[in-house]
């Protein structure tokens, strides 16, 4: 939507020049020679009043996101639109105010985005509070661990369980609270899972406030924000001490197990080596509302949420066939028809009668709901960010039109006015340059946002040659202009798994840079080649024979936005910043080597580790 411009003349504020965009806002009432008071069109009364005041006081006035209701367009209801409105008094030759300049830029979309983002922010805060309350009231201890194994957060239940003061140095103490026989294994297992970027599930003994060691089940999942490596693991510790004791009891005999299991408010069961359940404890009956006969040797499957039954059954048959422990997270129907999330675990033990299965279902419903809330919150936040990006993006786009208008007015001025003073011509050039610069900055700002949004694009195996050729096709003009030869060699590593848009953007920036900074003294030669490093990780280089550049000790400055090596060459320098951002966000590294007068080589290590 282009900016609306109108001139209003004399104390009656009569319409003078009114461009189409302004006419679209005010309506047909804006006829040359009529006063705004008799023909206000859509201009609200308060704005009319302000116009009068600006005229009288001679002080300009700007209103941001000014609300103007527009009449119903055919087929739709009345719409509210928002405008940035500027009122500029006009004086002739430094004399008294003789008229007003009225600018109006439609910012409805930005305003709506801003309002939506505001609502989302409030909603996120609300969720945040809910999350905290939930975190601190579930029976389990919840925690967050970073990639280095440092605990970022433990819920208050941890302090309650361990009896440690809130001032305790968490990371120094928690390994010491693990039973010495379990410590090394726990550290190793969590380390291995974090290195692999996976979740974990293991049991260990931790010292309780009374000095007793209790068996806990630690389960955690990585927080995935594709395509980055996970940064945090969120998990929960559940006490499974009674279950462990029961399993021990089973070794001593069925009778002892049953006696103990019937006194425990958890679902406990045993199965024959063939996988048929031959005992459910009393609590199972209470929870399900079914008798042991009604449940039967395989009837537990019927308790699961229907969509989960087939998968659960298949895994159970596999466990029976292989003897491997069974574990899964399932919704189980309670007697009142409500489903609650349970971790169902079983393992094979041997008692006096040979191999048997001992199983337990732990209610983790609250914990699971907590995770769901967490997920919702992440989604909401991601959406908010996207909306804000869109906001910046559209804003930069919408700024372009007023800029074009300015440029048009300026050209018109240059055409009609005559500049006698040579200094004025210089100023004219400077204005010209500033306008061009502003235009580029806007374009690149829009591109930055667009790229940031594309950062999480899905990866796919890409044929380097076809992507590079596609990019070069778009750079045909520049290649010709630089009289460049571009050599592609991808034999050593022909494919790369990456986001397509990202790869294209990286190649585009590196190639257009190589062409842009070509040495005018010699024809440009650019080489693009891929290979694998000693570790088998893919590398790509773009080498030119151009101007080269002085590398500061800190290479990173090359990649700062708006950092420019050759000010006489166009471009605001956002390109390299983008390339750098894309590469590091996907776990890679960008290297540059350059000699002034000889050329520059950019090398991308797609995967750092």
């Amino acid at each position: 939507m282009p900016a609306g411009v109108a001139t209003l003349q004399g104390p009656e504020l009569r319409y003078g020049f009114v461009n189409d965009a302004m006419r679209a806002v005010i309506g047909d009432a804006a006829q040359e020679g009529r006063s705004v008071a008799e023909s206000p069109g859509l201009i609200p009364a308060d704005l009319l009043e302000v116009m009068q005041q600006v005229y009288e006081s001679g002080r300009p006035f700007v209103a941001k996101a000014y609300r103007i209701p527009t009449p119903a367009a055919t087929g739709s209801g009345a719409a509210i639109r928002y405008f940035d409105v500027a009122l500029e008094p006009v004086r002739e030759g430094g004399g008294p105010v003789s008229g007003l300049l009225l600018f109006a830029v439609d910012v409805t979309e930005q305003e709506e985005t801003r309002q939506r983002a505001h609502e989302l922010a409030i909603e996120t805060r609300r969720l945040d509070t809910r999350l905290r309350v939930l975190t601190e009231t579930v029976p389990q201890i919840t925690f967050t661990m970073d990639a280095a194994g440092k605990l970022e957060y433990v819920s208050p239940q941890w302090y309650y369980f361990t009896g440690q003061p809130p001032t305790a140095d968490l990371n120094a103490i928690w390994p010491l609270l693990i039973h010495p026989d379990d410590r090394l294994r726990v550290l190793y297992q969590s380390d291995a899972a974090r290195a692999a970027g996976t979740g974990w599930s293991f049991e260990y003994r931790m010292r309780r406030h009374d000095g007793q060691y209790r068996w806990l089940l630690s389960r955690a999942l990585p927080e995935l924000h594709a395509p980055d490596q996970p940064v945090f693991w969120h998990g929960a510790l559940t006490e499974v001490h009674d279950q462990r004791e029961l399993a021990e009891a089973l070794r001593r005999g069925e009778a002892e197990l049953r006696f103990l299991a019937d006194s425990i408010p958890e679902l406990i069961w045993t199965a024959t080596s063939e996988g048929f359940i031959d005992y459910y404890n009393q609590f199972t009956g209470e929870y399900t509302g079914l008798t042991r006969d009604e449940l039967g040797p395989t009837g537990w499957i019927n308790l699961l949420e229907p969509t989960e039954q087939a998968g659960a059954a298949r895994r159970w048959v596999q466990s029976i066939a292989s003897g491997e422990p069974y574990e899964g997270l399932f919704r189980m129907r309670r007697h009142d028809g409500r489903y609650r999330w349970h971790i169902i675990r079983a393992r094979q033990l041997a008692d006096t009668r040979g191999p048997r299965w001992f199983g337990a279902c732990t209610d983790v419903d609250d914990q699971h709901r907590l995770r769901e809330v967490l997920q919702t919150q992440y989604d909401e936040l991601a959406r908010t960010n996207r909306d804000l990006d869109t906001f910046v993006y559209t804003a930069s786009h919408d700024l372009k039109q007023p800029l074009l208008n300015l440029r048009g007015l300026f050209d018109e001025l240059r055409r009609t006015a005559r500049f006698e003073d040579p200094q004025e011509a210089e100023i004219q050039d400077m204005v010209d340059g500033a306008l061009a610069q502003l235009d580029t900055t806007l374009q690149e700002l829009a591109a930055t946002v667009q790229e940031q949004r594309g950062l999480s694009a899905p990866t796919e195996p890409l044929d380097l040659r076809s992507v590079a050729e596609e990019v070069l096709l778009g750079l045909r003009a520049q290649v010709q202009e630089a009289n460049a030869t571009v050599e592609l060699n991808f034999e050593a590593a022909p494919t790369l798994t990456y986001g397509r848009a990202n790869l294209r953007s990286i190649l585009h920036n590196l190639l257009s840079n190589a062409l842009k900074f070509a040495d005018p003294e010699r024809p440009a030669a650019v080489q693009v080649y891929s290979r694998l490093d000693e570790g088998g990780r893919p590398i790509l280089s773009v080498a030119d024979n151009g101007l080269g550049m002085v590398l500061l000790e800190n290479q990173a400055t090359v990649f700062q936005p708006f950092a420019r090596q050759h000010p006489h060459i166009g471009g605001a320098g956002v390109g390299m910043y983008l390339v750098q951002r894309i590469i590091t966000s996907r776990g890679g590294r960008l290297e540059v080597a350059s000699t002034v007068g000889q050329g520059t080589t950019f090398t991308i290590h797609w995967l750092e580790e």
């Binding site: 063939e274 039967g296 059954a313 048959v317």
Partner: protein, 172 residues
């Protein structure tokens, strides 16, 4: 607000009165002594005839003395038949795993799956299946019942007989 409920008369309407006129029984047992090819073939012939007459369908698994059988039919036929089978001197340790009403049959006839010592003569035999060629559990079984069949098959034939691509029974 008044909600008018019309009685559904569409053919797709679900009958509200489940009418289970059939049951199925699953049991496992041990052969008293290993059954020879002749023993097994005799059993196959005898049972196929008797079962066809009385509309009994199902499947029997045999391997290395392990026996498991699923039979389906009318309760008035199955209850006495199971009594007779469980007292049959050729096997012992009969453990009934399930005995319950079913909505429909899952097997079209009665068949037997085992590893004959001399497979040549058996391949063409009606009602005979090689354990390796067993079809996945029919989708008319509930998931719990299909799992039961998978488990007894596993118990009789061992891990190699577990279908690598298990059927995903459609849940009713």
């Amino acid at each position: 607000m008044v909600v008018l409920r019309l009685r559904s008369i569409s053919p797709g309407g679900v009958s509200t009165v489940p009418l289970f006129s059939m049951i199925h029984i699953v049991y496992m047992s041990r052969a008293v002594r290993p059954l020879s090819d002749q023993d097994l073939q005799l059993l196959l012939d005898q049972c196929r005839q008797d079962n066809a007459q009385r509309n009994v369908t199902g499947v029997l698994f045999y391997s290395h003395g392990n026996i498991a059988q699923l039979i389906e039919g009318e309760p008035a036929i199955l209850e006495p038949l199971f009594d007779k089978i469980s007292r049959d001197g050729r096997h012992s340790h009969v453990v009934k795993l399930v005995d319950k009403p079913i909505a429909t049959r899952s097997f079209s006839d009665w068949s037997m799956a085992f590893h004959p010592l001399e497979p040549a003569g058996f391949e063409a035999l009606e009602g005979f299946l090689l354990p390796g060629n067993l079809p996945a559990s029919p989708s008319t079984l509930t998931i719990a019942d299909a799992m039961m069949v998978d488990l007894v098959r596993l118990a009789v034939f061992g891990p190699d007989a577990v279908p690598t691509e298990p059927a995903e029974p459609v849940h009713a």
